[in-house]
Amino acid sequence: MIEVENLEVAFGKGDDRKQVVKSVSFKVAKGETLGIVGESGCGKSTVLRSLAGLDRHWTGRIALAGQDVAKERTKEQFELAQMVFQDPYGSIHPRHRIERVLAEPLRAMKRGEGWDRVVPALERVGLPAAFAERFPHELSGGQRQRVAIARALMLAPQILLLDEPTSALDVSVQAEVLNLLSDLREERQLTYVLVSHDLSVIAHMCDRVLVMKEGMFVDELTPDAFRGGEITQPYSKTLFEASFL
């Protein structure tokens, strides 16, 4: 579903040039969930933003659903992959009602007004239809993150890119949101790329985990490795042990 070859991202020019992502390659099969774990600044979010088409500094090759995508994407290509951001407070327009937030992707893609699709979208993520009338500040953090997920699903993408979707949430609410994501994945055969610094969240959700450090992948882990604690790469080990504190 996703193929990435020699992806490189650099910001700045001349002496200030900083290579953030150093030639990474990976593949994600349809229905699979790939996790990318690493510390702040390791480049994991940049990889995700390049996949989403939000960053255009990249070089290399990105293919979505078997088709190479250019830096400038077509509407159809944008619709393939949608993103859910970390902060549910910052990623939803504070002065738009929820119905407008949810209709916006359809309107932006000229797929009609979208009002009739708002209520089913809310119900899909377990929110009452009455929430359509509300403003974001009238919702809790967990409810807002559900809205963000509903919005990402409005264009019926095949790929969801999740950037720390639960790190702003309480553990009890985190469990609800992660369960929702698991259910949706099963129901719609979605492919996920999940980025987080928290190995326990990644290990719970993912079929395969890439450990990223300073712009490169240093290790690849499977759920079996977590279960048995068979992690040998020193950096992965540090992250694994830190997640138990």
């Binding site: 553990v171 992660l178 698991s182 610094h197 928290d198 290990a203 719970h204 138990f244």
Partner: protein
């Protein structure tokens, strides 16, 4: 030198109500704190931060704080005026907040902020204050102190910011440190270092630490005693997670994903069962 079991902070039946609201944000919270690490755990809105702020007397005027007893080193805090409180805060009692990006002053350099604390609470002159600040920053393991002191908060990382915050707060060797989610804005990998550092300094000063967080596993690993708060009151007091008996505490523990014991679905809180358990006398 005070004995380790001596009570530093004594709280009995602390209640907080905001404005005209009939709901108590905090209801009958009691605990004693000696030179130890006490954890307060609960979800957002459980009142855990309000307890911390009520002790520091940092709640807005609209909040009505009542307590049978709220004594700090034998002095009733509720009877003190603002001027007196200001002398205690930052000097004898310190509060470390969640996000260093918001709790540090964005327009002052790191060195100036830490030195300000030394001037204010230790009464040092400008040069001595800078020297003390520099020593303290070294103490919290900041590499290249000279350079860091010239930087502004937006130029340093979150983990570094939290170390600066800790340096600033512990410089005056406070008797009580209240840390409100000190690590939730930080990466998992630096969390451990920051907690270890906090513990080291608090133990060295022989002071009491109240660690407030929603992360029950972290609190359990770090604290000797845990109070679990739900809807404004303490439902359970624990020394080990294994002893948890309240459905709320058990639910919080089960909601955390554990890489060693993978499950298909995470358990979510059964709020009806919790409220039923609460309704029972």
């Amino acid at each position: 030198m005070s004995a380790p079991d001596q009570t530093i902070l004594s709280v009995s039946k602390l209640s907080v109500r905001f404005a005209q609201s009939q709901v108590l944000a905090v209801r009958d919270v009691s605990f004693e704190l000696g030179a130890e690490r006490l954890g307060i755990v609960g979800e957002s809105g459980s009142g855990k931060s309000t307890v911390g702020r009520a002790i520091m007397r940092l709640l807005p005027n609209s909040a009505r704080v009542e307590a049978e007893r709220l004594d700090f080193e034998g002095t009733p805090l509720l009877g003190l005026n603002e001027a007196h409180m200001r002398k205690l805060r930052g000097h004898k009692m310190a509060l470390i907040m969640q996000d260093p990006r918001y709790s540090l002053n964005p327009v002052l350099s790191v060195g100036k902020q830490v030195a300000e604390a030394a001037r204010l609470h230790l009464g040092l002159g400008k040069r001595e204050a800078y020297a003390t600040a520099s020593a303290m920053l070294e103490r919290v393991r900041i590499a290249d102190v000279e350079r860091t002191m010239r930087l502004y908060p937006h130029q340093i990382s979150g983990g570094m910011g939290q170390r600066v915050m800790i340096a600033m707060m512990l410089l005056a060797k406070p008797a009580v440190v209240i840390a409100d989610e000190p690590t939730s804005a930080l990466d998992v990998s630096v969390r451990g270092d920051v907690l270890k550092l906090l513990d080291e300094l608090v133990t060295e000063n022989n002071s009491g630490l109240v660690l407030i967080s929603h992360d029950i596993r972290m609190v359990a690993a770090f604290c000797q005693r845990i109070l679990v708060m739900y809807k404004g009151h303490v439902v359970e007091s624990l020394t080990r997670l294994e002893d948890a008996s309240h459905p709320y505490t058990k639910g919080l523990i089960a909601a955390m994903p554990d890489p060693r014991h993978p499950v298909k679905r995470l358990q979510v809180l059964d709020r009806k069962a919790i409220d039923a358990a609460e309704a029972r006398p």
